[in-house]
Amino acid sequence: MADLLISGIIYGSIITLGAIGLTLMSDILNFFNFAYGDFFTLGAFSALAVLGFLPDMGTFAGLSFGWGMVIAAVTSICVTVSVMLFFDFIFFKRLRNIGVTSLFMSLASLGVSFIIRAAVNIIWGPKVRYYTPAIQISRDLPLGIRMKPDELVILICALILVVAVFYFLKKTKTGKAMRAVSDNKVLAQATGVETDRVIMWTWIVSGVLAAVAGVFYGIQVQLSPTMGWNFLIPLFVAVIMGGVGSFWGALIGGMTIGISEELITGLIQNTFNAVDIQANISVYKPAVAFVFVIVILLIKPYGLLGKRKG
């Protein structure tokens, strides 16, 4: 039970990072970006590539990675953001100028998703990869919690990043402009907010979050070219559940999805095992997110903290 909860919290924190990026993007750019998950993949794999170039720099005490991973993560953030801005330049910027509806923008993002996934497959191959072959052993923490040191670091880093994004949105001029555009685009433009700059910053913030989340998932689980695509449904469910554009909504949504996917399937499996029913429930983990989206949207069509847009 406690183990399930811990792994749910870790998984949830990775989803939350992505969900915050995705909710900002869905709101400010005003379309559902189906390529967002594949930027996770891109981030994770470009970090792998950088690690391959770097000499062995040792590891931090007790962790499975060292300074090499820090350099790799920073580089992968740069790569992911550049690729995002590149696709914005060749596709989305032009589509915005043509003025197509958001549904067509979503379809174009689907094309981008295929392009990235194919490129990752061609460059790195379809096999599952790991950053390090070493296996980590869980350690006992106070209060009877057992956790790998890597997991603790991921959790703390995710928390720092979420706080950083929160302060960026709350305190900086760019962050305020982003929130203004999200509230009311026309009004923001009328008061002199440069929409192009805001859109660029939205790509940058969500790119940073996607790359970091991808690297974290790579450290925690594994890397595979389809990992980002598999993240897409939980990510969108978290965004829709929290309400598109809501920072706190994405936080709540991401954690709820992460924890409940682990907890619900785990608990059902335990119950089945207890009463001797042969069934493998864990394969249906992704379906939990689907049930969630249906239930939440039936109760609250605009999400938990969503705002109704006119």
């Binding site: 596709f91 979503s106 379809l107 094309g111 295929f114 194919a118 449904i233 249906i294 039936l298």
Partner: protein, 314 residues
């Protein structure tokens, strides 16, 4: 060679039926369905189980005639669509697409893991192929081409008739402006549901036609790329809301898809193994470029009057 061409035409016809069904949803009703593969898959498996021979590994062995399998496929797809329409059709645009994508993933998991029903990843073999014993196996593909082309023609005329009827005009109205349509006293939910269920039944039939052609079905065939997004590409290339266009799109896109098989003979072996991903790359690129250059597709549709009204009111 002529066999190869006929086989290409059969698959094109099946995909064209899918594309027509998607066009009814997306092109005429504005439903962004990213889970069409689910109904195709359900149709395929329903027909395979209903007509299949008895097997120790999974249910089946009803041994029904093929026509019963096709009707069963349409019914089961239709019932699933009907049941799903209550929660799913409350959503619009992006969230609807996500919900349907999630439905497809969930049904895919069920098909893949519940081997008592579908024999899991090993798939179902030896599915009845209609009149296979009466014909020379080498000429069978020509016979099946007639069936597939006939089914395509029926689907085309049925959908053309439907969208040009008053019913179809309401659908177009919903696509353009749902509030306006409901203000004219139309029950939009009911119309969207009818469109959703009807086209899902057509997709089920397409799935049944597919399994009775290949005689084999396994979950791998229903990957989102092959069963959903390729069809989307066909509709986008052909022209949203244009039935002739999407048929053209289906034949064109499928020609590019199978045409790349020939390429494997001319490129080094190291690249040949990656042909699947290169295809995926091109699917993505074509989709993006089509939307960028010709958002309405190759054969563009005449503007609706309601569109003109909107221009003025802006």
């Amino acid at each position: 060679m002529i066999n190869y061409l006929s086989s290409y035409l059969v698959m094109s016809c099946i995909y064209a039926i899918m594309a027509l069904a998607l066009n009814l949803q997306w092109g005429y009703t504005g439903l962004m369905n990213f889970g069409i593969g689910a109904f195709y898959m359900v149709g395929a498996y329903t027909s395979a189980i209903l007509t299949g021979a008895p097997s120790a590994e999974h249910v089946g062995g009803f041994g029904l005639p093929v026509i019963a399998g096709i009707i069963g496929a349409a019914l089961v797809s239709g019932i699933i669509a009907y049941l799903l329409s209550f929660p799913a059709l409350k959503l619009r645009g992006g969230p609807f697409a996500i919900a349907l994508l999630a439905i497809q993933e969930t049904l895919y998991l069920v098909i893949k893991n519940e081997s008592w029903l579908t024999n899991g990843v090993w798939g179902i073999r030896g599915i009845t192929r209609p009149f296979f014993n009466l014909l020379n196996p080498r000429h069978y593909v020509f016979f099946y081409l007639i069936i597939a082309a006939g089914a395509l023609a029926i689907t085309f005329f049925a959908i053309e008739k439907a969208v040009n009827s008053p019913w179809g005009r309401v659908l177009k109205g919903i696509r353009e402006d749902e509030t306006l349509t409901s203000m004219s006293g139309k029950n939009c939910f009911l119309y969207r549901m009818q469109s959703f269920v009807f086209s899902s039944m057509v997709m089920g039939i397409a799935g049944a036609l597919y399994v009775h052609y290949t005689g084999f079905v396994s979950p791998q065939v229903f990957s989102p790329l092959m069963s959903t997004f390729l069809v989307w590409l066909m509709v986008m290339v052909g022209g949203t809301g244009n039935n002739r266009g999407v048929i053209l799109g289906a034949f064109l896109v499928w020609a590019i898809w199978v045409g790349s098989d020939f390429l494997t003979d001319f490129v080094p072996a190291s690249i040949a193994t990656q042909i699947g991903f290169i295809r995926m790359f091109f699917v993505g690129s074509i989709l993006g470029v089509t939307i960028l250059t010709k958002p309405q597709g190759l054969l563009t549709q005449k503007l609706l009057t309601i569109e003109l009204f909107r221009e003025e009111s802006r």
